[in-house]
Amino acid sequence: MKHSFFAKNPSVLLFLACLALFTIAVTVMSEAWGLSLIPTSFVKTLGKTLCLCLVALAMDLIWGFTGILSLGHMAFFAIGGYMIGMWLMYARTEEIVILSLANSPLPATPEEIRQGITSQIFGVVGSSELPPIWSFAHSLPLQLLLVLLVPGLLALVFGWLAFRSRVTGVYLSILTQAMTLTLALWLFQNDSGLRGNNGLSGLQNIPGLGQTSQDVISIWLFLASALALALGYLLLSSITSGKFGSVIRAIRDDETRMRFLGYPVESYKLFVFTLAALIAAIAGALYYPQAGIINPAELAPIASIYLAVWVAIGGRGQLWGAVLGAALVSLLSSWFTGGRAPDLPLGFYTIKWVDWWLILLGLGFVCVTLFAPQGLAGLLQRLAGPLTPRRGGAPLGPDPGALQEKEARE
């Protein structure tokens, strides 16, 4: 038992190595720093995909490991995006306003600048007052704090109410979905103070980096997303491999029994729910500067259902499975719906993938549920080796099931 964390979990090192190789390869082939083989728009797509992989990890923690099918974690993702988006938009508009007022005969007063920013941002929804929720938007550190605080507190309060009343299973899923829908509907209103259905836009322009081209910014954000994914993977694999992982898997399998063992099941659920919300928020805060725009449609319940589908296809309860599922399905999805997939002429009917992709995805989901409940990760593991766990060492007896050296030593 005296081995290091990596020796006990070789898959973590393998995953990190693959991620590092991928990151270096993309950087080298980017337009900014290399061979210009990958267009900047695709670098952004890849960077966004890494963020989706991170939120899929969070989903795997809460669903795959703890057995709570939350259909609300994309809401936390979007809130993280909104929180960083407020600073991006405010600071960027501030730059523009200062620049345009620089030509006036008198130097602009702070009040004039403030007025300018407000009319720039809120003219579109016909408001001339800066809503109170924008009070901290001028400050990057404060708004970064909100990226964690707002989703974290929301998850904490919502989770406390839901878990305390012992809402489980499909009822909890419905409740989380209702939360997402409520938030989306609230954000759609103009008086929510977040520009209603216009959402926040121009987020790809990082304030203070006006001279830097998008080629370079996209690579920086890509690298930041890769780093966040790597750290998230490390954190979650260390949490899920120890006694804590053991406890949450046991809660997934039989929470009543865990209560009789003395474990405060509700506290564990709340902890996991909130941690997953925080990870989702960080992923969202990295995603939307690459997407450039966020609006309330991002909180639609379907987004959280997609998240569940990615994790189910990739493989629940297997961290790299969730990453694989999110990357594969979201990239395929953007390929099919982006109109790049060639139409399939059948003579009497032409399959246009933009319309048919959802059906294909649905079929894939049904097939995975029916034939590979462990997802792609389970399939790959089955291909890689026999179903029996690798036990290590040579058998000590002639029978196929004999104890192996390693077991005998333990």
């Binding site: 120890g242 053991s246 506290s267």
Partner: protein
Amino acid sequence: MTGQTTGATLLEASGLSVTFDGYRAIRNLSFAIGERELRAIIGPNGAGKTTFMDIITGKTRPDEGRVLWGPLSRSLLAMNEAQIARIGIGRKFQRPTVFEDQTVRENLIMALKAPRSPFAVLRWKPRRPDLDRTETLATQVGLGQALSRKSGELSHGQKQWLEIGMLLAQEPKLLLVDEPAAGMTLAEREQTTTLLTELAKTRAVVVVEHDMEFVRRLNCRVTVLHEGSVLAEGSLDHVTANPQVIEVYLGR
């Protein structure tokens, strides 16, 4: 002979009543057990044995009555299942419930007496005394060679023993055991009897059992339940001589 109540009273339930949809499962039931005592609860189906266990472990709330615990007479009714388990009440279900997806070692480590809060568990590291204790427990229940095996691979009997090992790991002050003899071979029954009497030397053990032969082997004080209340209490010979008991339980 009857094992007498030894030590101070550990658990005292009085005036318990529970009604499920108009059906009175428990009526004015009172029960007490000492700190080191073995007690068998017998009674026909529907006598309220399982409901009584559910009340003590916090699964069911009684409509009336109180359950007091330990020298400080803390009320158990204000606590939830997990809190009751943490103050030292362990329960063994009839059907073995171990976490089949996890190894014998992981199962035992989860059961080991240790702080149970998420933050404490996050900080928990396997240390020598814990690992030694896990190994000792596994050996004690005959699973010393199976620590690294998934508990789902174990036989039915081995799962029963693993669950007993997990109960021992919890170090409960009161052990509630539901029909331990069900589905056991004669040799296993003997082993179980020895274990239960051994355990009762250091803690309180309550055994709910149908099987009279098994109860006789336990050689302890017996409480007979009928229609939700105590019909008789005393040595097995004493209660089986009671005409009321003969009528409702032994039949004819």
